[in-house]
Amino acid sequence: MAEIITDKLCHVYSKDTPFEKTAIRDISLTIPQGQLAALIGHTGSGKSTFIQHLNALLQPTTGRVLLDGEDINRDKYARRDVKWKVGLVFQYPEYQLFEETVYRDIAFGPSNMKLSKDEIDERVREAAAFTGVDEALFERSPLELSGGQKRRIAIAGVIAMRPEVLILDEPTAGLDPAGRTQILDNIFRYREKSGATVLIVSHSMDDVARFAERIIVFDDGGIAMDGTPDEVFSRSQKLVEIGLNVPKAAELALALRRRNIPLPESVFTHEQLLDALLKAREGKAC
């Protein structure tokens, strides 16, 4: 079980100073166990602030965060323990690597959990397998590896804690297309095997359209839209108003609709667009 509920969450940075800034306001969300949700929104919309509340790195100014019905900020120990249950992978996580060897870096999280040596070893190997880190690399220095490999090691470092909720802030930023697909596939494999809830912050609408069960759109510190990809992308007009782009296929469909080609609103993957276009052509032929 790992259900996250946020209750009227607000966060104000530098409260009572001239630099005061409300980052998120009144966020009430329920993310059920096992869901694969995507968070989208442009820079400064509050996504990063929001996800840092979910493992108690930031404390809400007002409001609560509940994990399985319990307030994660109830005391110091709860605030620490929630970090094992909710794993957070930051943007460009390769900048957090510091150990002399890949193995020890992946083991950093589990050893902070004060596990036995065997348990740590098992978890490191398991996490490395999930993220496609070859065991031959274990004794190398993480700093001399390629960008994609570093990223995978950093994600393995979080997965090694076996989190019930895995949150990733733009896990594919700055990778080549092959690297992007691999990283996403690795994350999905972890979710499948462990039943973990997964939250991904992403800017790539095409990725989001492909994998997410639910899309939560942030705008100006609040939630602008929340629903299945069908529901969210069918309101592409609104997405554009917020200043976000829509998946390439949805963009094309929108442009075609403007030219009076009758296409349904719920087109957002290449396959759907192809089907809709074929149907539209048939309609004309009749």
């Binding site: 530098s14 840092q52 493992n55 790195l57 620490r80 970090k83 094992w84 794993g87 957070l88 992978v89 930051f90 996580p93 900048y95 957090q96 690597l97 510091f98 950093f108 999280g109 902070n112 959990m113 700093l143 470092g157 979080v158 804690m161």
Partner: protein
């Protein structure tokens, strides 16, 4: 937590204090420090305090911001006060006490001296952007170039260091959060444990700082940077009437302080 550091912070503004040539301000700060150390009587301290207050009013810097700058020095200030109170010979406040009237007077004067010293120098960094500051320094130290002192190199290194302080602070914040998310603990444990806990922050910080330095060097070279020789500026610094007035006032202030010292006031 790390965002509270105000060391060398610049508060943009449009006052006379902001508009003065950085060279004038640097000279005035030196004059101010020399003048401050001439004060050895109550009238002297009163004059310096009045001048400092006037400058603060001119620059429209809130006193609360000043105190933020003083806070890190609090330990030194308290220590100085305590030492002076207890170790000055003279007439005891009450018979048999170690505390003397002279000690209290000295303590107050020493604390005033430190506070004024910090406030005066902070006025410079609060009203002058780092770039203007290093430009001013470079021009002031220009004569040293004849003695083969690498003035330009020194000032450009300084301005870069200043430029990267906020960047490194935000980077440290990010790395700390990332390690905390992996269960790192920076707040509890013995001194040795806490020092060890810093390693996961320092290593990535150094790695990225070196990388940044490398990239910066390449970026500078690809824009044909080749040292100070023949380099011109977009904004030429020119002394204005107000600069000469300010310098004259500074000279008067210094003269007054010398006279006061002479008569031990």
């Amino acid at each position: 937590m790390l965002k509270d550091i105000t060391l060398g912070q610049y508060f943009p503004g449009n006052t006379v204090a902001h508009k003065l040539d950085p060279r004038t301000k640097i000279i005035l700060v030196i004059v101010y420090i020399v003048a401050l150390f001439q004060a050895n009587g109550w009238i002297g301290y009163a004059v310096v305090t009045a001048v400092t207050a006037a400058c603060m009013a001119l620059s429209k810097i809130k006193p609360s911001n000043m105190f933020k700058g003083i806070r890190p020095m609090l330990v030194i200030i308290v220590l100085t006060a305590a030492l002076n109170i207890f170790y000055t010979q003279g007439t005891p406040v009450r018979p048999g006490w170690i505390i003397t009237w002279e000690g209290i007077a000295r303590a107050v004067q020493m604390v005033l001296r430190i506070v004024l010293l910090i406030s005066g120098t902070f006025l410079l960094t609060y009203t002058t952007s780092p770039i203007a500051l290093t430009d001013g320094l470079e021009l002031l130290m220009n004569p040293l170039k004849k003695l083969k002192v690498p003035v330009h190199e020194m000032t450009i290194m300084m301005s870069m260091a200043l430029r990267f302080i906020p960047t490194l602070i935000s980077e440290t914040d990010k790395i700390m959060s990332a390690q905390k998310a992996r269960g790192a603990d920076f707040e509890t444990g013995s001194l040795v444990q806490r020092a060890k806990a810093l390693l996961p922050i320092l290593v990535p910080l150094f790695v990225s700082a070196f990388k940044r330095a490398d990239e910066l060097a390449v970026a500078m070279e690809s824009r044909c940077y080749h040292g100070g020789e023949g380099r011109t500026r977009m904004k030429q610094l020119r002394m204005q009437t107000r600069d000469y007035i300010a310098l004259a006032l500074g000279a008067v202030f210094l003269a007054v302080m010398f006279v006061l010292k002479r008569y031990a006031l």
